[in-house]
């Protein structure tokens, strides 16, 4: 059984604010839920499937269902960090195919900027079984990702200049987004001249820290046909986990090497068919490694692929993150997967900013990397197609 073409994203909403000191996280969940449902032409009363991550306030989907006034007959709180929401889309599509629900709502919200919850490093270990063996002072995720960058540079000759091009492309796209947290274009020299945070990653290799959230509505095609709104058909989904592997960890790749091929196989398309890609960009290195693992270029050739405007839209080898991505636009709740799907939907609807819209965008990819690249993380990949009734 395949989910290919059997579920349609008909609602997508990104909270427009980046600092939200006057709302609770639960309120933001409701604002984005209402926003995505309004985009679809639906209401909370139509929802029969609900998806959120483990950071949703209170008792997760139980508290949120009560707070939102939902009567869901299918719930899922899969937690794979910032890739959770791409996994949720795949799970929602499977649930729709299986007849478990027909209108699935996925929400994300958080206030790391004004609420004081900065991204965690090893502090998040808690009662994890590895706690005690990884108390090395990585108090924010950048140190973890820097380890992967160091190894990639060592094995393949990847340079800081090449990584900087990823930020440059994102910043050029962000200038067209009035909601972007960092709307000003930067140069390679700007990135290389910014303070070193965790060698070899500079401050401008890092994503932004923003309040906010987003939501998606995934429905059965029969429901989508009643709404009169274009959407994104879920053509393929893949997810995978990567971890320490009992001491054998290899830092040159991510779990995308498994999630990507699964998504492409289900969709029946190849990387070369993709016209636009949303690639989770917690750090520049996150993008580079994912692009290789997803098959957009050979392993080790990511530097050359992204250099010299390779990711620019339009005109680059692979237009990416046309909203400015997590590097410049928004990284709500320290989790960038939701906004990756939202911008892919905009592209497939032809509703991205005209300056960065990919002409005739029919096939897009969205990819998330959640957790910590050099220790343990979850990857999730979606292949999406333009859809209209």
């Amino acid at each position: 059984m395949s989910i290919r073409g059997q579920a349609i994203i008909v609602g997508a909403y990104e909270h427009p604010r980046r600092e939200i000191p006057d709302r609770t996280v639960a309120q933001i969940h409701r604002e984005v839920a209402v926003g995505a449902l309004a985009d679809a032409g639906l209401t909370l009363a139509d929802v029969d499937g609900y998806f959120c991550d483990a950071t949703a306030p209170g008792f997760g989907p139980v508290s949120m269902s009560e707070h939102l006034g939902l009567a869901a007959r299918y719930v899922d709180s899969t937690e794979t960090g910032g890739s959770s929401y791409l996994a949720h889309v795949g799970h929602a599509a499977a649930a729709i195919v299986a007849g478990k629900c027909r209108v699935a709502l996925i929400t994300l919200a958080g206030r790391p900027r004004t609420g004081g919850a900065r991204p965690g490093g090893t502090a998040r270990l808690g009662d994890a079984p590895e706690a005690g063996f990884e108390q090395v002072g990585i108090t924010s995720p950048v140190g973890n990702y820097a380890l992967s960058a160091s190894r990639h540079m060592h094995e393949f000759g990847t340079t800081s200049e090449e990584l900087a091009w990823i930020k440059v492309a994102a910043s050029e796209h962000a200038q067209h987004n009035p909601d972007a947290w960092l709307p000003n274009p930067v140069t390679v020299d700007d990135v290389l001249g910014s303070p070193m945070v965790a060698d070899p990653l500079h401050r401008l290799d890092c994503c932004v820290v923003t309040d906010g959230g987003g939501a998606l509505v995934v429905v059965h095609p029969d429901v989508a046909r009643t709404l009169g709104r274009p959407g994104a058909s879920v053509l393929g989904h893949g997810e995978a986990l990567k971890h320490g592997d009992v001491g054998r960890i290899d830092l040159t790749y991510s779990a995308a090497r498994w999630s990507g091929p699964a998504a492409f196989a289900e969709a029946g398309v190849a990387p070369s068919d993709i016209q636009y890609a949303s690639i989770y960009d917690s750090f520049t290195i996150t993008v580079l490694i994912a692009l290789e693992d997803l098959g957009f270029c050979e392993k080790g050739r990511g530097g050359a692929f992204v250099a010299d405007g390779g990711l620019r839209s339009p005109g680059g080898r692979l237009p990416f993150n046309t909203d400015g991505g997590g590097l410049c636009n928004n990284h709500p709740a320290n989790r960038g997967g939701m906004t990756k799907v939202i911008e892919a939907v905009r592209q497939l609807r032809g509703e991205a900013h005209p300056a960065v819209q990919v002409p005739g965008c029919e096939l897009a990819l969205a990819h998330g990397t959640g957790g910590a690249l050099s220790t343990r993380h979850g990857s999730a990949t979606l292949v999406l197609g333009a859809w209209s009734s």
Partner: protein
């Protein structure tokens, strides 16, 4: 660079032999009795072959740097210690261990640099941790 924080780690029955060995100046790792894999992080069974029996085995404490970064900023008590080196050290016996490389010259710690274990006294025993020493590494002389 000032001294790195040395918080007391969580210890349980499964991992107590590891911490006890560090206190005696040894690095002990569980080795699978069935397949011989050196199991990192330590566990009481073997996730490679699902063998139920492991034996604590003293390893050399020598290895080389597999990946490294210098953290120029950190939060909490680690902030005062910056810059400091975080690395994966590949032990000569195989496992890649996330650790600190203690040095006055972070830039000299490169991928491939030979290192050896140092047993650092716990200075901040949180939650009554019984561990007395932590595992870190330093460039081999």
């Amino acid at each position: 660079m000032s001294e790195l924080p040395a918080p007391g780690p969580p210890v349980n029955d499964e991992t107590a032999p590891y911490w006890a060995a560090l206190g005696q100046g040894r690095l002990d790792v569980p080795v699978c009795d069935a397949c011989g894999h050196h199991i990192w992080y330590p566990r009481s069974w073997c996730p490679v072959c699902q063998g139920e029996s492991v034996s604590w085995t003293t390893v050399s404490g020598r290895g080389e740097v597999y990946a490294r970064t210098t953290l120029h900023k950190a939060m909490g008590p680690w902030g005062a210690a910056a810059p400091f080196v975080v690395a994966y050290v590949e032990l000569d016996e195989g496992p890649r261990v996330l650790t600190n490389v203690v040095t006055d010259d972070p830039a000299a710690v490169e991928i491939g640099t030979r290192v050896e274990a140092v047993f650092v006294p716990v200075t901040d025993p949180e939650d009554g941790s019984p561990a007395t020493h932590l595992l870190r590494f330093t460039p081999s002389g």
